[in-house]
């Protein structure tokens, strides 16, 4: 079971002028993957992910979820949206209830679950994203940016989705808040085996968390691979308005200067190991 996207095309119509936003996108996203999507602003990332839960309807091509074509007339889109949860940019702008707990209850209640189940789910979801209990009955508007963001994500989690799509979930969070949120997503992926699809502008976060990265440019997927494979294309990424993590550039530079290090490195941890090993080899005289 998986998400299968086959030759997806999508156009915007703007006063008679047609712009092709998605061009012939074909991709398979297996269950339980931590998938990153990068691309400059306007490359089609957000448009693409909105097709995955049926918010946008394909111009041509097909999106299959668990083997079913989601554009079929009798396909239950409401059910799809409870299975494929989408957290928009700045989700905290969508908080509206009088307290945190009520806000998180909204989604599962809408699914028609009985009240007790709704509350259990809301409780579990808030716990999963690390919101402390003393904040459950606070007004959402009293929380800090990072806390609000988490409450909004809990609102989607409480629907118990199989796939969680997050569009720029860390924008505006401080570095610690960013790390905490990403750690929690990685944990959810491992413990509940849900698929995480993360749209982000932070190459470092992608390198640290994603198992696979899709790079989008002008509506197409232009690179698809592990962080190591993708970030080896630093020149092409730069041409697309992206970059590799700084640590990848460091290793390239070291290699250029004659250090015997592997240059396909994307995390600090690996870089440290590589550099220390190269010193050790030198001391050992080989």
């Amino acid at each position: 079971m998986a998400i299968i996207v086959n030759k997806l095309n999508y156009n915007y119509n703007d006063g008679g002028k047609t712009t092709q936003v998605l061009k012939d996108i074909s991709v398979v996203i297996p269950d339980g993957q931590f998938l990153g999507i990068i691309g400059h602003t306007g490359s089609g990332k957000s448009t693409f992910v909105q097709h995955l839960n049926g918010l946008l309807k394909a111009g041509s091509g097909t999106v299959y979820y668990n083997g079913e074509d989601i554009s079929d007339k009798d396909y239950d889109l409401k059910k799809l949206r409870s299975k494929v949860g989408l957290v928009f940019q700045y989700p905290e702008h969508q908080l509206f209830e009088v307290d945190v707990f009520k806000d998180v209850c909204f989604g599962p209640r809408n699914l028609g679950l009985e009240e007790k189940k709704v509350q259990l789910r809301a409780f579990a979801a808030l716990k999963q994203v690390g919101v402390p209990e003393e904040l459950f009955y606070a007004s959402p508007f009293e929380l800090s940016g990072g806390q609000k963001r988490r409450v909004a994500i809990a609102g989607v989690l409480a629907m118990e989705p199989e796939v969680l799509i997050l569009d720029e979930p860390t924008a505006g969070l401080d570095p610690k808040g960013r790390d905490e949120l990403l750690e929690q997503l990685a944990k959810l992926q491992k413990e509940r085996e849900i698929t995480i699809i993360l749209v982000s502008h932070s190459m470092e976060d992608m390198a640290n968390y994603a198992e696979r990265i899709l790079v989008m440019d002008q509506g197409s997927i232009v690179l698809d691979g592990t962080p190591k494979e993708v970030f080896a294309h630093d020149k092409e990424l730069e041409e697309m308005g992206l970059a590799s993590p700084q640590v990848t550039y460091i290793m390239k530079e070291l290699k250029k200067r004659g250090f015997s290090v592997e240059e396909k490195v994307t995390t600090i941890e690996e870089a440290k190991k590589e550099i220390l090993n190269s010193f050790k080899r030198k001391v050992a005289g080989c």
Binding site: T41, G172, D174, G177, M203, E238, Y249, L276
Partner: protein, 283 residues
């Protein structure tokens, strides 16, 4: 004279119930005193809720001091007659580009500020041209802002501020929503304004690598300035920053980790070149 002088500034957010009784007081800025000289590039770091934005709003007279005084270009921000002069001297760019663009065409949006100030029409167009060129958006002057990318919108917002000829620009997490090239574009535009036009810059950000060009860095925590120094001095204290929920650039962190593992490297490495220089010695 300082561009900005803040003396013993205190700002409290006070919450009241229906009967106007005070139910909660939160001190967002707690006795801050800082000076910023004309032409300086100052960065402010701090975790969410540390008081950075509250402080920034005081420099633009969007907030007035509870206690203490803020002077912008010598003008006390709490004096009502200074209000417009203060805002002309210190322009502000916010995080979300979609909330600050009002014109339906880029050049109109940029012209709005100076028009509002009563600048003669001829000069408005001159200023629009200069400002859009300064941020590299001249070729988009006839476009509708909502067709632009985030980085482009943000540069239009900056051009709108630049067109008012401010002495100081405050960027309140203006790069938070941008992709890497958008961030670079904005930073480049801001640094050019700083170096060529000598506009004072106050840059609030969570991206540590944007801070390395600053002349001075302030780190805030619980409404206070807890660290102050050059980027090198600040980023030499990796553990302390991490405790404050902050971070250092990757190159700084790698150098720090290598040093901990026994490689003799100076503290506060800020660029790849500096790291190479240190490691080359060991080759």
């Amino acid at each position: 004279m300082e561009m900005i002088k803040i003396k013993n500034l205190i700002h409290e957010y006070i919450r009241r119930d229906e009967e106007e009784n005070v139910v909660d007081i939160k001190r967002a800025v707690d006795d801050i005193s800082i000076d910023v000289k004309p032409g300086e590039f100052v960065a402010i770091l701090g975790h969410n809720g540390s008081g950075k934005s509250t402080l920034a709003k005081h420099i633009n007279a969007l907030l007035y001091p509870g206690e203490g005084t803020v002077w912008v270009n010598g003008m006390d921000t709490s004096a009502e007659e200074n209000l417009w002069k203060v805002r002309e001297s210190a322009g502000m760019v916010f995080q979300n580009p979609d909330n600050q663009i009002i014109g339906s065409v880029v050049e109109e949006d940029v012209g709005f500020g100076p028009e509002n100030m009563g600048v003669p029409t001829e000069e408005i167009w001159q200023r629009v041209e200069e400002s859009l060129k300064a941020v590299g958006m001249w070729q988009y002057r006839k476009k509708s802002p909502n067709r632009l990318s985030g980085g482009q919108k943000q540069r239009v917002a900056i051009a709108g501020v630049v067109a008012m000829h401010p002495k100081c620009i405050i960027l309140d997490e203006a790069t938070a929503m941008l992709d890497p090239s958008g961030r670079k574009e904005v930073l480049r535009a801001v640094r050019a304004l700083n170096m060529v036009e000598e506009v004072t810059i106050i840059h609030i950000t969570h991206y540590m690598e944007e801070v390395i060009y600053a002349d001075k860095v302030f780190v805030m925590d619980q409404g206070k300035v807890v660290m102050e120094g050059t980027p090198k001095e600040i980023f030499s204290q990796v553990e302390k920053l991490q405790k404050l929920r902050l971070d250092v650039p990757q190159v700084t962190l790698l150098a720090h980790e290598l040093k901990k593992a026994g490689v003799p490297i100076e503290d506060g490495i800020l660029t790849i070149d500096e790291l190479m220089e240190q490691l080359d010695k060991r080759k």
